[in-house]
Symmetry: C3
Subunit: 138 residues, 3 copies
């Protein structure tokens, strides 16, 4: 069985983190799949999917550290060429990747207690993000 | 066909690396799947799954470099708020991600000769890690 | 349904980026799968798979930044032990991971308009890379 659909979330950019665990679980529930996997994939080249213990102190820590590694005011050829000032966003997204895959068991996501599925939006402005959630199994 | 189960490993923390290739191959063998994929997913928010040429010199190099990028003595809001001193562990885990997917062909993992599947435990203490290995295919 | 095969690409190393989107789409087309997923996995321990807006300015930016984070002239125990001078390549590959999974819908890859699937070759020399493209679905 295969069941997939887009979910959408409003984001703030600059690597802000949005918890999408409940939305992903809703798609898994609709799929009626009891055992299998779910692929969570963000379309666009300036965002990533990962997991985190979703609590506000850690979200701030993460944003501070990714900004130390790849600064938001980085001079890039991409920004100079295209004038959109988000070269740093692309580099962060390529480093972290656009997708994760989470197991489904007994119709539920297999996650740790303090582990949430998140979209990380690295762009330099508000976005409405489209994330494809593809469930496969039996 | 879908077949999955947890494997467990004892880990040392501070981004130590454990080779789980044989354990993953054992689950693939039990699944009797000849062609498909296997999703390797670590539950918890302070560990990652990746691949590496698993040899001791490189494991030390990796640990040194991840510690240079995200230091283990980093001051974090997370550690101050929750008192568990592992904010750095969470940030490393979110950067690297909790899962990979490896192809199965002829009943075997498709890997390079010098490429092993590993869990990287970023936490600041010994853990007994649970990793879900989900096989799908035919 | 499961359909997979290797694709090959010639690469330049030092984290150069090669666009493999069309080759992956060709395998998806051959699989005749309308809805499902495709797992793109690079064999070997010195390369990664990710997505990027594939344009030359950004490729140069990315190469410059990954070289700032994990320099190509890094002294490593791995290089000293094995004499192949590519310890930095391994560390970059483990950080970024060997695989991504992309959804298939209506027989097409689900990607953003400016989002391409790429292999990033971190090694320190030319390589002929083998990438397994495994399609699953119905």
């Amino acid at each position: 069985m295969v069941f997939g659909e887009f979910i959408t979330v409003d984001t703030n950019g600059f690597s802000d983190i949005i918890n999408i665990t409940d939305k992903v679980q809703d798609v898994v529930h609709k799929s009626k799949i009891e055992a299998g996997i779910v692929n969570i994939f963000v379309t666009g080249s300036t965002a990533s999917i990962s997991t985190i213990e979703f609590e506000p102190a850690l979200v701030e820590d993460y944003k501070e550290q990714i900004d130390r590694l790849i600064p938001h005011d980085l001079k890039t050829r991409h920004s100079e060429t295209w004038g959109d000032d988000n070269g740093f966003s692309h580099i962060r997204a390529t480093l972290m990747g656009p997708s994760i895959v989470v197991p489904i068991s007994n119709g539920r996501l297999v996650l740790g207690t303090w582990q949430q599925i998140v979209v990380v939006d690295h762009d330099n402005r508000h976005r409405n993000r489209k994330i494809f959630v593809q469930c496969m199994g039996e």
